[in-house]
């Protein structure tokens, strides 16, 4: 009996989240028609409890549960990331003026369900659990994207998401099945270290005979991660889904879901190619996978930035900007070194502050003006100065200019890229940053340089406070990034 109970302790955060998800659903039934905000507060409290448990785990020795779940600092970092972004998203839902608060319990249920998927996804070296976590996240996201199913754009967004999501799931599963067929195991660590003489055969034996089937399987599996991170050529869904989904859901997809994709990719590559007892032939193969990722990174950031320039809707612009940022993050991944992975994780942390802030602004602006077109921003800076100044800070950070956290994150990524000898890639990324300056500053110009329009903006003190905090943190960690860098280093995989 103890053998079963003991590992359950390692799963405490997941179990608590499950309880919270069911609790939110039941609470909404009990509170029906009275105070829907209460369910939101309940979600916030349960997230806080999960966060405390996770904080206490930082620095612990890695443990395993049920042979599949790995509880280590790397996983805990991304779990904390998820919980922190979900807390902000919950506050967004609470302050969303377009939300009718009808069936609100299901909203929180799906958000928490998606978080459980992420939790399993980031804490396993086993392809079965990775796939199940990814599917749980995807399924909850489909329903969330179509949550306002009466609205044309929301229904369309969900449909597109489900069609492209199904395709990428099918492709990834076929890749996993090929990988299993080639190596005889689903455990990534096992796959990398087995010499190929005994069972399971492992990657090494296959690579010495022929690398072509491995390459095929690898490309198919990477497609699944590319879809979650919205990397070219699996980015088609991003602009439409980001635009059509309710803004808090867009925020969740842009921040937490993308981070989950990055985490799973880092763990997949880390366990397969950078582990302690990886066969040398496998590690060499990892370098060529890095080359492929470098090409994807260059294409992704260029396409994202160039498409963002033409957008007239703020949400679509941020969607293309998030595609471009996936490209920047891939620089760190493509180096295939521990330091490069660290830079990618740091950039994820930077991305948290600036993107939550930027989407928060979109939500506020949409709620007050009922539109997300960039034209409607004219003179908004004079009507809502505090929020607009915060937005300019986020834009500066997204561009990658000092003194913000975005600058330091980009600096780390570029430095690691140069250290790995990928000069061309860093050159492309630097050019891309200049291009991104144009469209980010078009927003800032609209905010402040045009004549103010008439009419006033209703106040939302809690929400404005949240944006102000995010803004201050963006600058604070930009000036003093050591705290986060230290934290990321402690949580590194290798």
């Amino acid at each position: 009996m103890d053998a079963y109970i003991e590992p359950l302790k390692a799963l405490a955060p997941e179990l608590l989240l499950t309880a919270a998800a069911l609790g939110a659903l039941v609470l909404d039934l009990l509170m029906r028609g009275r105070d829907s905000r209460f369910v939101g507060y309940f979600t916030l409290v349960s997230l806080a409890i999960v966060a405390i448990i996770l904080m206490n785990r930082i620095g612990d020795e890695p443990t395993a549960a049920f042979g599949m779940v790995v509880v280590d600092n790397f996983g805990t970092f991304f779990k904390l990331f998820t919980v922190a972004s979900l807390a902000v998203v919950t506050i967004f839902v609470l302050s969303d003026r377009n939300e009718s608060h009808h069936h609100i319990g299901e909203y929180y249920f799906l958000l928490l369900g998606a978080a459980i998927g992420i939790f399993f996804m980031v804490s396993t070296n086993h392809l079965l659990l990775l796939m199940l976590g990814l599917e749980l996240l995807s399924l909850a996201s489909y329903a969330l994207a179509g949550f306002h199913k009466g609205e044309r754009k929301s229904a369309e967004a969900a449909m597109k998401y489900v069609v492209f999501g199904g395709l990428s799931a099918g492709v990834m599963l076929y890749g996993i099945s090929l990988l299993y067929g080639l190596t005889g195991t689903l455990d990534l660590v096992e796959m990398a270290k087995s010499t190929g003489e005994a069972m399971p055969a492992g990657l090494a034996g296959q690579l010495t005979t022929s690398a072509v089937p491995v390459a095929l399987a690898m490309v198919l599996v990477l497609a699944g991660f590319a879809y979650k991170m919205s990397v070219v050529p699996f980015h088609f869904w991003t602009p439409d889904v980001y635009e059509g989904a309710p803004t808090p859901v867009t925020t969740f997809l842009a921040v937490a879901s993308k981070a989950a994709g990055v985490a799973a990719l880092l763990r997949f590559l880390g366990a397969l190619f950078l582990g302690p007892d990886v066969q040398s032939v496998v590690a060499e193969y990892g370098a060529s996978v890095g080359q492929l990722l470098a090409i994807l990174a260059a294409v992704t950031m260029t396409l994202g930035n160039l498409s963002a320039m033409r957008q007239t809707s703020l949400k679509r612009l941020l969607a293309y900007s998030s595609i471009a940022h996936a490209g920047y993050i891939l620089i760190g991944v493509a180096t295939m070194t521990g330091a490069g992975f660290e830079a990618a994780m740091f950039y994820m942390a930077a991305y948290y502050f600036m993107n939550l802030g930027a989407f928060g602004f979109v939500l506020y602006f949409e709620g007050t003006l009922g539109s997300d077109s960039i034209e409607a921003l004219k003179g908004y800076g004079f009507k809502a100065p505090l929020i607009s100044i915060a937005m300019v800070t986020f834009l500066v950070s997204l561009t990658g200019l000092p003194p913000t956290i975005g600058f330091y994150g980009k600096y780390l990524l570029f430095k690691e890229g140069l250290d790995a000898g990928m000069y061309w890639l860093v050159g492309v990324a630097a050019l891309n940053s200049v291009v991104s300056l144009f469209y980010y500053f078009r927003i800032a110009k609209m905010l402040f340089l045009k004549e103010p329009a008439s009419g006033s903006v209703p106040r939302q003190p809690l929400f404005a406070g949240l944006l102000a905090v995010l803004c201050v943190l963006t600058i604070y960690f930009g000036l003093l990034p050591d705290a986060i860098q230290e934290f990321v280093r402690n949580c590194l995989l290798i």
């Binding site: 449909m159 099918g170 099945s177 299993y180």
Partner: protein, 105 residues
């Protein structure tokens, strides 16, 4: 009857290709979802064939067979969510064609 695993793998490859082809060519949302099911089943067949390939008379390697059961479950859930969204979509558009989905840039 004993089918060699190689033939199963080839069949799975063909199924997967048909799935991808159907996804790209057909415009009907339900057929697109069916194509996705086909891809998932290609993965299932590969899993089962590989599981048999890697098993010896003494040691059974059942990882693949177990994975296939999970995939069947995931496929059912995806079909449920997908079809529910198709219905929501149909209510607004009176159509289940991908063409009415409004092409983004």
């Amino acid at each position: 009857m004993n089918i060699p695993p190689q033939q199963l793998l080839i069949l799975a490859g063909i199924l997967f290709a048909i799935g991808v082809g159907g996804f790209v060519i057909r415009r009907n949302l339900i057929v697109v979802l069916m194509s996705i099911e086909l891809m998932l089943n290609a993965a299932n067949l590969t899993f089962i064939a590989a599981s048999r390939m890697h098993s010896t008379s003494e040691v059974q390697n059942l990882d693949g067979a177990v994975f296939a059961i999970f995939v069947i479950c995931v496929a059912a859930v995806e079909a449920a969510v997908g079809l529910a969204l198709v219905i929501a979509f149909f209510r607004r558009h009176q159509s289940i064609s991908l063409d009415s989905l409004g092409a983004g840039e």
